[in-house]
């Protein structure tokens, strides 16, 4: 189980006259295995989830993942947590499918056959075995996102943070990725505008103008989010 402690967290981009407070006074204690993050464009979702992986260090407050402070133990936090971005094209680093999945293990000290076995297992699981040696950029959008996910899973993280992983996909692929997310054994934190992905989630956080304005079951949270739109 992963334990995320968010304690009076705020964030400010820029300095001096250009400074903007985009997150303010956010606190939450997260232990559930499926956590959703919703809110309007610019409400602070990406800023928040990037902090959970120490991609961004909060300018106020503290975030701890399994007791590790993201500010001082960023590397350990990242070893624990993987991150799935919106655009798989910026996430795919190596030219061929198998090479990209293997990339995360370059410095792991595992032998080549061990790495190959793990890569094969993941490609098999995501139906990508037939594309092993193919150029990654020739995959379809949905397959690219599966590849990006496989590349995250190869290092066996306990927590996977996702920032709108289905936004660039068509309905069919978005549903397929949603299904794959549902089957993950890891803890998932998912920021999205595709609210139906959150149906089976344990807990959903609603952000509005940088503040955490609702925190509860998907039904409660989504109802709150819809009310925000009316005013």
């Amino acid at each position: 189980m992963v334990h995320i402690e968010v304690d009076h967290v705020g964030h400010r981009y820029g300095q001096g006259a250009l400074a903007r407070q985009v997150l303010d006074g956010v606190s939450a204690d997260l232990t559930e295995s499926r956590i959703g993050v919703i809110g309007h464009n610019g409400s602070g979702k990406s800023t928040f989830v990037r902090m959970l992986n120490a991609l961004l260090i909060p300018s106020q407050g503290v975030i701890k993942v399994n007791g590790l402070d993201t500010a001082s133990e960023a590397k350990k936090v990242r070893r624990l947590a993987g991150f799935l971005f919106t655009d798989p094209d910026t996430q795919i680093i190596m030219p061929t499918v198998a090479e990209d999945v293997a990339f995360g293990l370059r410095k792991s000290g595992l032998s080549k056959p061990e790495i190959a076995a793990r890569v094969d297992e993941l490609l098999e699981r995501f139906g990508l075995s037939g594309h092993r040696e193919h150029p990654a950029h020739l995959l379809s959008g949905g397959q690219k996102q599966l590849l990006a996910l496989a590349s995250v899973l190869i290092t066996s993280p306990q927590l996977i943070i996702m920032d709108e992983p289905t936004t660039l996909l068509d309905l069919r692929n978005a549903r397929m990725i949603g299904q794959v997310i549902g089957e993950l054994s890891q803890t998932v934190v998912l920021a999205t505008h595709h609210l139906h992905l959150l149906d089976d989630f344990d807990r959903v956080l609603v952000f509005d103008s940088g503040r955490l304005v609702a925190d509860g079951t998907p039904t409660e949270a989504i109802a709150h989010y819809r009310r925000l739109m009316e005013v």
Binding site: N53, L55, A74, K75, R78, R79, G82, F83, F85, D87, D89, T90, Q91, I92, I93, M94, P95, T96, E99, A102, F103, G104, R106, K107, E133, P135, A136, H137, S151, V152, T155, L168
Partner: protein, 205 residues
């Protein structure tokens, strides 16, 4: 969002001799050719002969010759410029030899990347740089930097043509600033995103 990895110069599976030769041999061959180019350049017909050999290399690897021209296309105007400059300031022989040598080197480098998986190339570089570790060089990092360099060339080229299309679609003009500014913004933004992805995937040192 369309920052795809282009087919340009990236590994294409195959079983030819050139695919099977070790990455070491191919990289050493490239280095030798690079070193010899200074000498080769003084005889225009030698340059053409070596270029001919590279063409044969493409055929042996099972690629159409068109693929070689595809590697050279992005720099065609540069080559023409170099040819004209050399012809004008020296003689027609140099006008052939100098751009011919550049084209030969680029085409040969393209042939190596087309027949060698990226991970094999990085492994060679990481090993070759290994002895420098005691001087504080991190071989993995050198290999990674090189790989990112190779990866970014087609990316930027792809972005450039996209920005160009968007510009023509919107304004039907060819202003340089209207081209350079969005290109720079997008290249930086994508570089930022790739940087994030690298950090998220554990390459943060």
């Amino acid at each position: 969002m369309a920052i795809g990895i282009n087919t340009l110069g990236l590994y294409q599976q195959g079983s030819s001799v050139l695919h099977r030769v070790s990455a070491w041999a191919k990289l050493i061959g490239l280095v030798v050719l690079g070193a010899a180019s200074i000498w080769l350049q003084s005889r225009w017909w030698l340059v053409l002969a070596v270029l001919g050999l590279v063409v044969v290399g493409y055929l042996v690897a099972g690629f159409p010759v068109g693929l070689m021209f595809k590697q050279l296309r992005p720099m065609i105007w540069l080559l023409v410029f170099i040819a004209v400059m050399n012809w004008w300031s020296f003689d027609w022989q140099r006008g052939i030899a100098v751009p011919g040598m550049i084209a030969t080197l680029v085409a040969a480098a393209g042939l190596v990347t087309l027949t060698t998986p990226m991970s094999a190339l990085i492994d060679v570089v990481v090993r070759a740089v290994g002895p420098l570790r005691r001087f504080g060089v991190d071989p993995e990092r050198v290999g990674l930097t090189l790989m990112l360099g190779i990866r970014c060339v087609p990316v930027v080229a792809g972005l450039a043509s996209e920005v160009r299309e968007a510009q023509i679609a919107r304004t039907a003009t060819h202003s340089f600033r209207a081209f350079a500014v969005p290109l720079l913004v997008r290249a930086l933004r994508d570089a930022d995103a790739i940087g994030d992805a690298l950090v998220a995937r554990g390459f943060d040192d």
